[in-house]
Structures are given as structure tokens and as C-alpha cells.
């Protein structure tokens, strides 16, 4: 209800604000948070426009150390990591891209943290990096339209904008298809659940996958290329997809659910109950691993072992 009066306004001013530089100047893409919502898409998009892309690099121990130096302490870990990745781009590029995400699925809304991302990035890094941004709001217009609009605003001609957008969408679809190949195959497996920037961020997910593989278990990462069911209990897009995925799991194909959640995640603090219940209704064992900057692999391995053990002993 709040938004009615301002929606028309957003239609005018929202969108690709803050671009000016020529499209040939390299653009930095921080590989964190929003990058995992549309894997492959942004790189292909900018390259399609003839703009060289500089990636921030992967998350590692040094990056986590940076988190403590540059980010707001009360943020969830993925949001902090975004700051750290942007910080790592300083000196390497003159501008970065940070979208404003209001909704990823029609009828749903994004976690409120995504709404202020470009503004927060400008506030923190504006002296050293120009921040390019586009507003993504599926409730207002589909992603394809936003991309074309953004490309046009960056100075591309109509056909060039459409080509770049199509290429970007295709690259995204490819990245998703790769994930699918990875998880194909028979046998019962564990589902690694959680927001995309946890489940697909190697720094967080690899230790779990490694641990499980070592125990002889198979792992599948949760996927996000589905629409949430209408009338679910949750209105946040990724949270709703997570819950629906859990609610649809086939207990014959899955042995259990391992949920990654970030310390300080506001959405999960509400949604966790729904995740747990959904898994329970499908008769699937559920374990929550809460991640923070200091999470050690050793402690996690013990928990995984215990979890797999109890389930292993219950398998027929």
C-alpha cells in the first residue's frame, strides 16, 4: 500500500541511473551476493556491449579478512562480502556495477537489503568508484525489458541493446544448465539448501560438498530457476523458492537437507521455521549450518558426520 503513490514516480526516475562514462571503460563486477542471483548474466551483458569486464576474484581467507575492515558489522555475511569484493576492485577499475533489486519474481519482493545496495555502495565507495546501477523489479517490468532499457541508457543503439540482452539471458540460462548437468544421475542424495550466494559460493559450499563426498554421500545444490508457488507463506522471492523446493522434495530421491544460512540473515530468521516444517512434512532429516566469518571447517565436518551417520543408520 505504501508504494502506490510513488510507483509512477519510480517509473520515471528509476532504472539505469548513474551512468555517464563511455561504454568502453572497463567495469568491475564484484563476485558476491547479487552476482549469484543471475550467474553469468552481467558479464555477458557488459561484454556484449563491448565493455571490458574485470572480476573481483574469488572469496578466500584474505577477502574475509577484508570484510572486517570495510563493512557494516551488523550485516549478514553475503552483504558484507559484497563490500569486500567492491573494495578489492578499487584501483583496478574506475567503476563498478551494483543493481538495485526490488523483485526477482512477479508477485514477490526481494530481501530489503537489495533495495539500498547501489546507494550504500555509493555512500561507501563513491569517492573511489563510480557505481552503475539498474533497477530490477519484476513486478514492474520483466528482466529482459530492464536489460534493454539499461543498455540503451548506457548508450547502445536499439538493436545492439537487444542483442546484448539476449546474449546475457542466454549466458545465464547456460550457467543454470551447467549446474543441472552437475547434479544429474541416480541415487539418493543430500540437498544443499540456502540462498544462491551461499549455496553457489564455493567458499561456503565447497567444504560441505567435500565433507559429504568424503563420507560417500552425493550432494545436489538447490536451484532457483523455478517460480514460487502462488499463495505460499513467504513473500521474499528466494526464500519462497527455497521453501517451495523443500515442500516438493521427493523423499525417495533425497536422503536429507543441509541448510546453509548466514549469521544475521533477517529473512531466514523468519523463514527457517517454514523450511524446517516443509522438510519435516516430506519426512526428510534437516540440518542447519549457520555461517559466519569465523566458521571453521573442522567443526562443520564433525556435524556433517554425525548427521550422515544418523541418516545412514536409518536407511532401509
Amino acid at each position: 500500500m505504501w508504494n502506490i503513490g510513488t510507483r509512477w514516480l519510480r517509473g520515471r526516475t528509476g532504472g539505469a541511473a548513474g551512468f555517464a562514462a563511455s561504454s568502453q571503460e572497463p567495469i568491475g563486477l564484484p563476485l558476491a551476493l547479487y552476482a549469484y542471483l543471475h550467474p553469468g548474466l552481467w558479464q555477458a551483458f557488459f561484454e556484449g556491449l563491448g565493455c571490458p569486464v574485470v572480476l573481483s576474484g574469488s572469496t578466500d581467507a584474505a577477502m574475509l579478512e577484508r570484510v572486517g575492515l570495510v563493512s557494516e558489522t551488523e550485516h549478514c555475511l553475503p552483504a558484507k562480502l559484497l563490500d569486500a569484493h567492491m573494495d578489492a576492485l578499487i584501483g583496478r577499475v574506475g567503476r563498478v556495477f551494483v543493481p538495485r533489486i526490488l523483485s526477482l519474481k512477479r508477485g514477490y519482493i526481494a530481501c530489503p537489503k537489495f533495495g539500498a545496495l547501489p546507494d550504500a555502495a555509493r555512500a561507501r565507495f563513491g569517492d573511489r568508484l563510480a557505481v552503475l546501477s539498474v533497477e530490477l523489479d519484476e513486478n514492474r517490468e520483466p528482466l529482459r525489458t530492464s536489460l534493454v532499457r539499461f543498455a540503451r541508457a548506457l548508450g547502445a543503439s536499439g538493436p545492439a541493446a537487444r542483442t546484448a540482452s539476449e546474449r546475457a539471458l542466454a549466458a545465464w540460462a547456460d550457467a543454470c544448465a551447467d549446474d543441472e548437468k552437475e547434479t544429474a544421475g541416480a541415487g539418493r542424495r543430500y540437498l544443499l539448501a540456502g540462498h544462491p550466494y551461499l549455496v553457489n559460493e564455493p567458499w561456503f559450499s565447497e567444504p560441505v560438498v567435500r565433507g559429504l563426498t568424503r563420507l560417500g554421500a552425493r550432494v545436489e545444490r538447490m536451484r532457483f530457476d523455478r517460480a514460487p508457488a502462488p499463495d505460499g507463506p513467504l513473500r521474499w522471492d528466494t526464500s519462497a523458492i527455497m521453501r517451495d523446493t523443500l515442500a516438493d522434495l521427493d523423499a525417495r530421491r533425497y536422503a536429507g537437507v543441509i541448510q546453509l544460512s548466514s549469521f544475521g540473515c533477517g529473512c531466514d530468521s523468519i523463514a527457517e521455521r517454514h523450511f524446517r516444517e516443509a522438510a519435516r512434512e516430506r519426512g526428510l532429516p534437516y540440518m542447519l549450518l549457520r555461517l559466519d566469518e569465523h566458521a571453521g571447517e573442522a567443526g562443520m565436518r564433525t556435524r556433517l558426520e554425525a548427521f550422515v551417520d544418523t541418516i545412514g543408520s536409518r536407511l532401509p
Partner: protein
């Protein structure tokens, strides 16, 4: 008579009580969370929930213990966690066997469910709305008086006592005319409070999350503490303004979303949710109007407020107006808070002297 529990909304409790008369229920409310309700709430809530959630859970449990059958709370349609809170509180109450039914104040159709349930007659209902609105405006005015006088009162506590007396009268006022007459007495009453005219109070804006701005227990009496330190506060949560925004009256008024959005735009070009936009806009406006500083209050982990903190820091850097960030949970210590407030006001004073 059936009782209806309402969230603690500071001095607005008087106005809230007036708003439900026509539903033929007796209001059950408190002006602030109490240690007991907070304890109950912390016990019953998930650990990762935010402080307002815990306080509100406790409040409703306490109401249920005292035999209250219904409750009503704000449930926004916004982006933050608040939209799930009614359902989550209800679930906690149900699981514990309490028979209290919570209504949300939001709309799901033409009428709010609360109104549908109690189905008041339209004429008394409208009269009652008018009374509640007058009382809300009166409390707004009262708050402004207290902030001003508290910073310069000669005897500590006089302003608060005057406020209590006014509130008591306001509570008794029955008709719109009586309420207006009562509100007119506020200014003279505060003018009678002995003040120390040599003192030049610091001006500090309080921005942030609404529950914490309003609940004196949860914010450790922030307004009074600052007042005692010689600070004239402006607490930017005023229910009258909030109502106007909800019902979208006064598009161009000083505190309408539209105006605030325009002010905030150079730093924040989205609504974000909660009162994050307000926090940014009011901070900017305070800087422009020559305030000495800003105190930003938020529950620990509050998604909208935390996401705009870098922006507030930036504004502080750009304008040179110091900002104090306070985060609260059930473990926040009063002593630590007092020390920080003292240090902050010292900084503000020195800054003022330097500039003079």
C-alpha cells in the same frame, strides 16, 4: 467486557485507547514494554528474532495471562520482516495454549479484519476515529513541548511531570471539543515550568526504527537521558505524521513520503522498507537545518535500518554533522549506553564551541 490488547506505543497509548471505544471493547495497553513482558517475550521467541518482535510477543503473552481475548497490531505490507510478525506471534501464542486472537491492522479487502469482526455502527465509529485522531495530534504537540522544555528545565523531572499531568487530562477528555480544549492548555502549562534561560540546548534528531523510537523501556529512556544532558531532541516518529502518510493525506506536507523521498534522493533512491527512507531524509534535513547531531536507533539486525547505515555515515562525513549509531537487543546495557550518550554530547558541545 471483551478486552483488546494493543502494542505499547509510548504516549500514544491514550489515543489508541480512544480509537477502540466504538468497538465496545476495553483497551488493554501499556505505554512501554516492561521488564516482565520482555522476559516473557525473549523466552518464547526464536533467538534470531529482533527486539521489537520479542517485546511484542511478551506483551501479548502478558495480555493473554490477564485474560485478554483479542489483540491488534500493525502488520505492514512492506518489505521487512514485520509483515510476518502477526502470524508468528499468533503461532507462538497458539503453541503455548493462550487463547488470544491477534488482528492485523492491514487491509485485506475493503475493511480491516478487526472492523469486520467487531462490526461497529458507522456513525459512532467515525466519531471515534475523529476523537482518536485529535488525541494523536494532541500527543504529537505534547511531545514537541516536552522535548523543548526538558532540555532547559531548572529542576530535573519537571517537564516529565507536566507531561504526565497533560496526558492524564487528555485521557479523560471525551469529545473532540474537550480534546481540543485540553490540547490548548499544554503550551501554558509548559510555559509555567521553571527554566534556566542561560542554557542553550543542543539540538539532536532521533531517527530510526519506530518501535525503538517510541518505547521508553526498550530504548532505555533515550529521550529523557538526552534531555538531562541538555539536549533538545526531535524524535522523528510522530504518529500523526505516520497516519497522514498511511492514508496519503497531505501529499505535499512536510513529512509526506513524497517530500521525504525527494529530500533523500541524492543519497537513497528507493523506499527500502521500514523507516529507512525516513531515517535518511530526516538526517539530511537536520543537517540542513543546523542540528548538532543525529542519533540513529535500530534493533540489532534490523534489515532496512542496517542497510542504510553506510548512507548515514556518508551524510555525516559530507555534512560534518556527527551521527551516533545505537543498536539494541535484550542484552543492551544501560550503563554503556549512558556513557556513549555523554561522550556524544561532549563531542557535540566541543564542536559547537569550535564553530562559535
Amino acid at each position: 467486557m471483551t478486552a483488546l490488547a494493543m502494542q505499547p506505543w509510548g504516549n500514544y497509548a491514550v489515543a489508541l485507547a480512544a480509537s477502540v471505544e466504538c468497538l465496545r471493547v476495553s483497551p488493554w495497553t501499556r505505554r512501554a514494554t516492561t521488564p516482565e513482558t520482555l522476559r516473557l517475550g525473549v523466552e518464547a521467541s526464536p533467538e534470531s528474532a529482533c527486539l521489537p518482535f520479542k517485546a511484542c510477543t511478551g506483551h501479548f503473552i502478558k495480555a493473554a495471562m490477564e485474560g485478554v481475548e483479542y489483540g491488534v497490531m500493525v502488520n505492514s505490507r512492506g518489505t521487512c520482516r514485520l509483515r510476518y510478525y502477526r502470524e508468528a506471534h499468533q503461532k507462538i501464542l497458539d503453541e503455548r495454549g493462550w487463547k488470544l486472537r491477534i488482528f492485523g491492522l492491514g487491509y485485506d479487502g475493503i475493511k480491516p479484519p478487526l472492523i469486520r469482526h467487531f462490526d461497529p455502527d458507522p456513525i459512532p465509529f467515525l466519531q471515534c476515529c475523529a476523537r482518536a485522531q485529535q488525541k494523536t495530534l494532541a500527543v504529537d504537540a505534547l511531545e514537541r513541548e516536552v522535548w523543548r522544555v526538558r532540555a532547559i528545565e531548572a529542576n530535573r523531572g519537571d517537564a516529565t511531570r507536566a507531561m504526565e499531568a497533560c496526558l492524564a487530562d487528555l485521557d479523560r477528555a471525551r469529545t473532540v471539543r474537550e480534546i481540543r480544549a485540553c490540547a490548548r492548555t499544554f503550551a501554558p502549562r509548559f510555559a509555567a515550568v521553571p527554566t534556566d534561560s542561560r542554557r542553550v540546548p543542543l539540538r539532536v534528531g532521533l531517527v530510526g526504527e519506530a518501535t525503538l523510537l517510541r518505547d521508553r523501556f526498550l530504548n532505555h529512556n533515550l529521550e529523557e537521558q538526552l534531555g538531562g544532558l541538555g539536549v533538545e531532541v526531535s524524535n522523528f516518529f510522530l504518529l500523526g505524521d505516520e497516519m497522514r502518510n498511511i492514508f496519503r493525506i497531505g501529499f505535499f506536507s512536510r513529512n509526506s513520503r513524497w517530500t521525504l523521498r525527494r529530500i533523500a534522493r541524492p543519497y537513497l533512491d528507493a523506499l527500502v522498507g521500514g523507516h529507512a527512507l525516513e531515517s535518511v531524509a530526516h538526517t539530511l534535513r537536520c543537517a540542513r537545518e543546523g542540528f548538532d547531531g543525529i542519533v540513529h536507533v535500530a534493533p540489532i539486525g534490523c534489515m532496512p535500518e542496517v542497510s542504510v547505515r553506510p548512507i548515514l555515515q556518508r551524510i555525516a562525513r559530507d555534512t560534518g554533522m556527527p551521527t551516533l549509531e545505537l543498536s539494541f537487543d535484550e542484552h543492551t546495557s544501560s550503563v554503556g549506553l549512558t556513557t556513549r550518550l555523554e561522550a556524544f554530547t561532549d563531542v557535540l558541545r566541543q564542536r559547537r564551541e569550535r564553530r562559535a
